[in-house]
Symmetry: C2
Subunit: 283 residues, 2 copies
């Protein structure tokens, strides 16, 4: 028996196996963008559940059922690691994904951003914005307090930010008005750090940052999880000796559950580049 | 054989059979409201596909698949008539619903509002606002031109109106700004009539009407299909001798595909009254 032969090793334990990434729609592409920049050689399989998007306005129960479907699809591509590039799923269904993944490492958006927030906040007054499902789960507060139990966490659901990002209203005055309304409560809590607890929100980062500083009266640090997620992925792959350093740009495959046209158009806004092939799958 | 015995007649051909109504979510309740007012004795079974809402930003193919699921669910309640209380489904999947309904009459939102618009417009310049799927289908234009081929129809997709209505931003300044942006193109076409081509939009009717008049510089007639749908339902039931005139208020049952809590809360805004029981079903 020759264990060194690639063919004798399950695909998911080889460096050329893909990183599997999923989200309810296009938001997770902000994470893919960071992965491509930090780990350019990695092969990536992305799944966006565009036929059932959004997740964040739906119940925990429904999101858990959808997360199981998404994970099963990614597993059919034998990924060496799964990234949950959706804060709603990371908040309410991490255990569902981990259980199905049986040994394949799973990285969500929650822990990396909680860690960054706890590190950066000086006043220990931290704001979190996310979908209704994420905020209702209280998961960010638990995660931040697991790192620093003295931190005060203030959360606010911002359900209109996802459609505003998806519709390209990133710099629109209406987005600014809605941001003022959503963020004013948090500003009155005198937070010094604000976690973007949804992978769609980096698209609105400029307005969110400006409005936050304006109503807080002083600079508030904005935490975007995408970079932290990429750095965690690199660390885990390095530790497991699964980094792909072939020297060749990785192959990225994109799958969606609705027809690909709209995804392709919006994806360029999120990814900052043109997509190659996008395929439709039925779950 | 005694054909007069109720027990010998299929349930769907009896006056006490329910009217089946479906929508992607809560929007169709604006139609239920009119049905309850025009036909108070009728039993109603409502289904809202809240686990997969919205439909209007998704593809024709996906909406047709979902419409088939929704119709199958309603048929299990043996309705005497089916109302498609969703303009997206009425625009892209009427044939799917009719085929599955095999003889049970089907009424969508499209024909009644097209007829009203054609009747009311003097300049024969008619605007239609709806979801991206509805506008892409061109169905309103075809329907209005089938009634009056001289009419000019101008359409505009307003994808943010559904989330704004669902989140209760009916009178918010941000909604007004977004409405100005969406409606300015139509105003420049000098329309005298505007069709609300989505059952969510009556919730935003006040702002839509004000903005339309403001940028058009003169009054524009707003067409809300819900009343017209109720009047068509009454006419069809009368013709088929299926009107329920028991003298007793009808039983209304509500089913949704996500958990019922959020539906119940938003439903009161759309229905103008408290809901009784709401049950969850898995499609």
């Amino acid at each position: 028996m020759n264990h060194a032969l690639d063919s004798g090793i399950p695909k998911r334990m080889r460096p050329d196996a893909p990183i599997g990434v999923f989200d309810s729609g296009v938001g997770g592409l902000t994470v893919v963008r960071q992965l491509m920049s930090a780990l350019p050689d990695e092969n990536i399989v992305y799944f966006g559940d565009t036929a059932r998007v959004p997740y964040g306005t739906k119940s925990r129960e429904t999101v858990r059922a959808y997360a199981a479907d998404d994970t099963a699809f990614l597993l059919s591509h034998h990924p060496k690691l799964i990234v949950i590039a959706c804060s709603t799923v990371s908040s309410v269904a991490l255990d569902v994904v981990e259980e199905l993944a049986t040994g394949t490492p799973v990285i969500g958006t929650l822990k990396p951003s909680a860690r960054l927030a706890a590190e950066h906040s000086i006043s220990k007054r931290i704001g979190v914005i996310g979908t209704s499902a994420t905020v209702a789960s209280n998961a960010y507060q638990l995660e931040i307090n697991a790192i620093d139990e003295s931190a005060h966490v203030f959360s606010k659901a911002c359900p209109l930010f996802v459609p505003l990002a998806e519709e390209g209203f990133a710099y629109h005055e209406a987005t600014r008005l809605i941001a003022r309304e959503y963020l004013s409560e948090l500003a009155s809590e005198q937070i010094d750090t604000l976690v973007l607890g949804c992978t769609h929100y980096p698209i609105l980062k400029k307005i969110i940052g400006e409005v936050m500083n304006e109503i807080a009266g002083e600079p508030v640090r904005i935490i975007d999880a995408a970079e932290a997620v990429a750095s965690d992925v690199a660390a885990v792959l390095r530790e497991k000796r699964l980094l792909n350093d072939s020297g060749q740009t990785g192959v990225r495959q994109f799958f969606v559950s609705d027809v690909p046209q709209k995804f392709r158009a919006v994806a360029e806004l999120f990814l900052g580049m043109e997509l190659g092939g996008v395929s439709q799958v039925r779950l």
